[in-house]
Structures are given as C-alpha cells and as structure tokens.
C-alpha cells in the first residue's frame, strides 16, 4: 500500500497520469467531433432530401389537374346513385409476339352506400357481380355457375374485401369509391392538365398522371357534369407497356335504382360453386365460401 502511494506521489507518475487523462479526453473529443460532423451531415442530407422530394412532388402535381380531378371525384362521390356503361379494351400479346386488343362492355349500377351491380359482356363471356349490402355474388352466365362471399359494409369496404381477400376485380372500382380523388391520387407522383379534347363528341379536359409502375389518363367532361368519359392505364413496368382503356357512356344520375336491381336471383338451373379465398405465398387456398 505504501509502495503504491509512493508511486502515485512520484512526480513522474503524476505527469504520466495527467498525460493519460489528457489523451483520453482528446480521444473522446475527437470521437465526439467526428460523430457530430457525421450526424450533422446525415441530418442535413435528410432534410435536403425531404425538402427536395416535397418540393418536387408539389411541383409535379399541376393544381389545375388536381382541381379538375377533385371536381370529378366530388361529383361521383356525392352522387347517391348512378348508372353508366363502359366499353373496355385491353392490350394482349399473343404467344407469337403479335399484339392485339380484346374488348368487353360493362354495365354498372351503383347506389350508395352499399349497393352495386356490374354486368360484363363480350362475345363469348357473360358475367355479373352483385353486392346487396350483405354478400357479393358472382355469376358466370355462360356456364350458369354462381358463388357468394358474405361481407357487409360500405361499397369501399366490400370492394377491398373482394379484391384483397378473393382477388375479385370490381370493374372500374376507382370511380365507384366514396372519394375517387383521394384514392386516385394516393400514389400519384405527377399530374398534368394536357388540355381540352373531344371524346366521342363530348368536350373534355384531358388529365395525365404518373406513379411508380403505371401511367394513367382520364378525360373529364367539361361543364356542370364532370364525369369521366375515357380512362387509360398504361402498365409501363410490363413488357411492351400494355394498356387498359375504358370509354364511358350513358351516365345517368336521375333514374332511381330500387332494391330489386341489386337483389340476386339465381337463374334457372344455376349451380352454386365455391369462391376460393386468395392463397398467399406460404399457404394453399384458405377458407372457402359456398
């Protein structure tokens, strides 16, 4: 003990001890300095990235296009009921590489908050999709099969259940939702007002939007009834960027749609079949409804 005290009281030890502490402090200060610099730089980069991205997005969304889309969305979203016809054309590539278009027509009847009937026709196909507030029913008229999925709630909720649980594509769902403007712009990164144009003889405003994997365009009727007249999705992340085109006609916001329109009656001789729930990557088909 006395020996240790002797060493500690020695001037050389005192100098050594001080030098050691000084060195330690220098290391700490240097580390702190570098850490401060690194995090300050990261913070700066982060703030710059945020401000640049926010500014870019703001600049990319043309306020005029946004306003026109909102007008359309409000008009459709506030309509208590409506009917519309649409002719849909879809690009396909044959295995030979040749590109063709296939078409179908859709008759849509919507009554908020929870009624929908869609009839899809083409030369060989004929199907219906009915939501009556308590169940979604699919009908394959060509083979006379139908299947039911029990669900309830608003049209928005039913369409999400149909799509996300059963993989059922609700025709033109973006225009049926309660807030089409909000849903359509959810992932848009740019919006542009291309200008006035005529669709099937109807003066419209042509709007164009982009998002990460698709481009889409909508032609909105000018005047007091801002309804969509044409709609195109370009799947730009797929080979040859196929397009989905819908041309709308016969918009009707006056003819009332009573309950029986949305009541499903199986056609004579129809067979009820299962509706399979979507399977995920790690599981086979889940519960089935019949």
């Amino acid at each position: 003990m006395s020996g240790v005290r002797a060493i500690e009281s020695h001037p050389c030890y005192f100098e050594f001890s001080n030098r050691k502490k000084s060195m330690k402090n220098r290391i700490i200060n240097l580390t702190a300095h570098w850490l401060r610099a690194a995090f300050a730089a990261a913070a700066l980069v982060g703030l710059m990235a945020l401000s640049v991205s926010a500014a870019d997005q703001k600049a990319a969304l043309d306020p005029r296009a946004d306003e026109l889309l909102k007008r359309m969305g409000d008009y459709l979203g506030h309509a208590q009921f409506f009917s519309v016809s649409a002719e849909v054309w879809q690009d396909f590539q044959l295995s030979s590489g040749q590109r063709i278009q296939a078409g179908r027509t859709i008759e849509l009847r919507v009554r908020r908050p929870n009624r929908l009937r869609a009839e899809v026709h083409s030369t060989r196909r004929n199907r219906e999709l009915v939501y009556d507030g308590s169940a979604i029913t699919l009908l394959n008229r060509a083979q006379n099969f139908y299947g039911t999925v029990h669900t309830s709630g608003s049209l928005d909720e039913a369409m999400d259940v149909a799509s996300e649980r059963f993989g059922i594509a609700m025709p033109l769902e973006d225009f049926i939702r309660s807030d089409p403007h909000k849903d359509l712009l959810r992932r848009a990164t740019s919006a542009a007002d291309i200008g006035p144009v005529t669709v099937m003889g109807v003066p419209c405003e042509h709007l164009a939007f982009t998002q990460d994997n698709i481009d889409w365009q909508v032609w909105i009727e000018n005047g007091v009834r801002p309804v969509p007249r044409k709609f195109i999705i370009t799947y730009k992340d797929e080979p040859d960027s196929p397009q989905y085109t819908a041309i709308f006609s016969n918009w009707d916001f006056t003819t009332e749609l009573p309950d029986f329109v949305f009541k499903f009656e199986p056609p004579a001789g129809a067979s009820k079949i299962k509706v399979k729930e979507m399977k995920t990557e790690n599981q086979s088909h889940k519960t089935e409804e019949k």
Binding site: K21, N25, T31, A43, Q143, R186, T210, K274, T280, E281
Partner: protein
C-alpha cells in the same frame, strides 16, 4: 482535476446525445429516400410497404383496370408453351415474367385460341393416323401420339384414347400451361400432366390432386358428386370454383 475532467467529458456526451437525437431520425428518413431515388422510384412517393407482405397469387393486373389495387395480388399469367417448327420448346423459369396468351374459358377478356388437342374426343375413330404421329409403347401396348392426342389401334383403324400415364414425348403439346404443384412444374394440356425428365423428354404423370386449372380437359363429362356439379375425365374429377372471380377447376377424388 477530477472535476475538470468530468466537465470536459460531460459536455461532448450531451452533444453526442443531442446529435443522436436529431441525426438518427434524419438519417432514418434520408436513407430510404436516397435509396428510392437511386432505384428511380418516385420522389416523395408512398413507401412500398407491400413488398414485405405475403402476396396472394393469380390476379392478372391488366384485367383489373384498377389504380387502387394496381399491385394487389399481382402475378403473371401461367406460361403457355409455344412451339415453333425447328425450334426446341422454350419453357424457362424466367419466362414466367412475360405475359403470354392465356387461353381461358372464363376470363373477362374475349380471346380464345384453340389448340390441336382441344378437339380431343374419347373413342373417336379414324381410318388412318394423322401424318407425323409418334409411335410409342407402354408395357408392350402400342400408342400413337400427335401433339397432345393419343391413339390406339382398333378394328383395322384407330381411336382417340385418354392420355396414358408413363409415356414420354419429346416436348409438351403446343399451348401447354405450366402449373406448379407439390414442388414440381407440370405442363398441362389435353387433360394430361407432363413432367420434364432427366433426359429432356416430357413424361405423362398421374393427375395431381388439389391443383386448380384454368380450363377443363377437352371432352370432360359433367357429373354430380354429392349433389355438387363436377366434371370427370380419365378417372379424375374436376370441381368448378371461382378463383379471382373467374371459374377455374380443382382436381379432386370423391
């Protein structure tokens, strides 16, 4: 000394703490944004959280026509085998990312292409075999094969028969659809399931049970099984089910 040292050390500690408090969140915000920029993703776009979510399968996105659900459950259509004269069959895993024509009896899209084997009719008699038939033997029994259709000699002529199990052909029939089941890739055409062999040929396999097929075998007969509509072909039953909103057929044994 000790007091001074304490003051000297506590000051950077506070600063370090402050720097961490400000810098770390900023870094966490900045890194994904920088990454997104590099990937060419939209600036300020929504985070792609769906990437980590298990995705259900088999929705054809371009049929969807939906922006809200543009990425919901999207996979490509089944690959269809395309055969060109003088070229080997091109069926590669990477081809699955391509959209090929998907002959489907119940899609919204009005496209339908028939294949040679679409005309198969069990028991149909022919006076002579089609030109270019392959001659096959299974356990000493002669078969003749013509692009997905099998024949056997009968009464001085030939008749169309169900695809036998265990016969190997050089390539799957034109228009066969690749189907994954039980960890294997089958090529389905004309009611037969082909599996690629080590020697490169394709052998007919027993029908896997529980797989969902986009179309019925040609000539499948409608039957009732426990009061439910079903189809029967070569001893195997097919139950119609709605998958992704369209009618498909699941193999089963009652």
């Amino acid at each position: 000394m000790n007091t001074n040292a304490h003051v000297t050390q506590s000051f950077p500690r506070r600063k370090i703490g402050l720097t961490f408090a400000l810098g770390l969140p900023a870094l966490l915000i900045a890194l994904p944004l920088i990454g997104a920029e590099r990937r060419g993703a939209p600036r300020g776009g929504a985070p792609r959280a769906a990437m980590s979510v298990p995705r259900p399968a088999m929705v054809d996105r371009s049929s969807h026509g939906s922006i809200r659900h543009v990425d919901t459950h999207v996979v490509q259509r089944p690959v269809q085998v395309r055969r060109e004269p003088g070229h080997p069959v091109e069926v590669h895993r990477e081809d699955r990312t391509r959209h090929e024509v998907f002959v489907h009896h119940d899609v919204d899209v009005d496209i339908h292409r028939r294949h040679h084997w679409s005309d198969f009719a069990f028991g149909r008699r022919l006076a002579m075999l089609p030109f270019g038939c392959l001659t096959l033997q299974i356990g000493g029994v002669p078969y003749y094969y013509d692009d997905g259709i099998y024949f056997q000699p009968v009464g001085g002529g030939y008749q169309e028969v169900y695809p036998p199990v265990g016969v190997a052909v050089p390539e799957p029939p034109d228009g066969a659809i690749a189907i994954d089941a039980g960890g294997q890739t089958y090529y389905y055409a004309g009611g037969a399931f082909y599996l690629q062999q080590a020697d490169g040929t394709y052998a007919t396999a027993p029908t896997p049970i529980g797989v969902v097929l986009p179309e019925l075998p040609p000539g499948a007969i409608q039957v009732a099984v426990k009061g439910t509509v079903a189809y029967q072909f070569n001893g195997v039953y097919y139950e119609p089910v709605f998958v992704n909103g369209v009618t498909q057929y699941e193999t089963f044994m009652p």
